[in-house]
Symmetry: C2
Subunit: 302 residues, 2 copies
């Protein structure tokens, strides 16, 4: 089994109440790949500029992450900068320099076309579909998107969703996409657009998943020190898809454990800037925290 | 076993996006008592004015709710009016006519003084302590409060908390009371003030409980039709304390099931105005929905 991920590899400049990190490794495909690589080989497709250094590439080394789809284009690497509020619950974007990412047209290497699991990061929905046109019958296609595409490219997005198995979005995106405020009604409307599983990410309030088997609710792990929330959603997606692909199977039970695994990986990602915590994470720590999620949520029948 | 509850019995005038209810039965002690009465006899202490009618009293009839502590005072009954936003996540208070509740000094009838479980509704913390002075060695004392007392009567409140076993408050109140934004740090600081269990209510995002055994997280039940959130927190408290007193025992497992039972009762309360849904609720419905909470949260170990 292997996972294809298409998304961004970027520089982030982030300020939180606890410090500032300048031009550190970020991007949806970066967080996703490192998280998923704990479970299964990852085929990464993204673009960087000629300013992207060996130091940043080192993050992917010694892991089962195939970089042969990491295109180098003339120009600068995507650079995002943001500043979080004192409570980490909101952030202002200082700047978004798309640079080489602006004209990114994902080209899937021949060796990646048989990837059984595909994660379409948050890019133009027409490009997401273009990726699907280049791969051969994946077993599971998962997809992220954002308000920008929901409000600006809704018809394109709906065509993509018709070909997607799992959609992972946050609660405000689910509401905007469905036009329903109530989250149960929103989930029904979105699942009617195509995805058999809808995963709604609620940050510190956890995750809700809707499938044919009904709803599953998982809390976020109550952390004493949240340092930087950047990349939590992409890390969640990497842990979720990595677990499914590597060990999970396809039933409702596997999807539930995948949600907890995504939440587990995300709970580590926010403990430091950039991918710092993920890069020093061990399998033992992952299994211990997964078990802590059981203690956090378990109760006996009446 | 029996529970003593001290709080408000009131008229509510509520407007939600789905309709309006004028001068219907409300108040913390009303919601609490009806919820708890599914499990254990309830001793109610509150005050109403001479405008309070037989129709409203009928809600408590045919239930194990002892009304001998329901004082009738000269004047009008406490009347609150509020209007909810389109998403039900915020509300504006239209008016708060305290009326006879303003000079409420709880007098605990002799027959109530041996109540093993005590719930101190949201009143002046000095009056809460006055109630504790009137009762004999209760097994469990639980308490609600609000920002008004936290900001205005903090020292009084701290004296009360030193005598409380379980504090039930919402997340913004926990943050204000502790001066900590992070909820884990807030919980530690508040538990150091006295309560061995802290229950943090987060509305549609569920509940977090902190005890010596660590944290327990429960989601809110994802409802398709939330009609009126008024009284959800008091209903939660009633289900929580009722279950503990009636069947629960004292261990961490009992506290966890009590959290789910509180969430179960609250999920029904919001399905209609006032106490309407609670008053037609059956034990079978309660047990079914408790079981649905298991399905909503269960996952297997790795």
């Amino acid at each position: 089994m292997s996972i294809l991920v298409v998304g961004s590899v970027a520089y982030d400049t982030v300020e939180t109440p606890f410090g500032k990190a300048e031009r550190v490794l970020g991007g949806s495909a970066s967080f996703f790949s490192v998280a998923a690589s704990f479970f299964v080989p990852v085929n990464l497709v993204a673009v960087v500029g000629n300013d992207f250094g060996e130091k940043e590439l080192a993050a992917f080394k010694d892991r089962p992450i195939d970089l042969s789809g990491l295109e180098r284009a003339e120009g600068k690497t995507f650079h995002w900068s943001g500043k979080y509020s004192y409570d980490l619950n909101s952030r202002d974007t200082i700047f978004t320099d798309l640079n080489v990412f602006e004209s990114f047209r994902p080209k899937i290497p021949a060796a990646f076309k048989k990837s059984e699991y595909v994660f379409l990061g948050n890019i133009d929905p027409a490009l997401q579909r273009d990726v699907l046109d280049q791969v051969e019958k994946p077993k599971v296609v998962a997809c992220d998107t954002m308000n920008f595409w929901i409000s600006g490219r809704l018809e394109e997005l709906k065509k993509t969703l018709a070909r997607v198995d799992v959609l992972l979005i946050n609660d405000s995106e689910a509401r905007e996409l469905s036009g329903e405020w109530n989250i149960v009604k929103a989930a029904r409307a979105i699942r009617a657009m195509g995805p058999r599983a809808l995963v709604i990410k609620k940050g510190e309030h956890g995750v809700l998943m809707f499938t044919t088997h009904g709803a599953f609710a998982a809390p976020a792990y109550p952390l004493e020190d949240v340092f930087d929330p950047t990349g939590a959603g992409d890390t969640f997606a990497g842990g979720f898809m990595g677990y499914l692909a590597g060990r999970g199977g396809e039933g409702d039970g596997a999807l539930r454990r995948a949600i907890i695994m995504g939440s587990t990986l995300a709970s580590f990602a926010v403990e430091a800037f950039s991918l710092d915590r993920l890069l020093r994470l061990t399998r033992e720590e992952i299994e211990q925290r997964f078990q802590l999620f059981r203690q956090l949520t378990h109760f006996e029948a009446l």
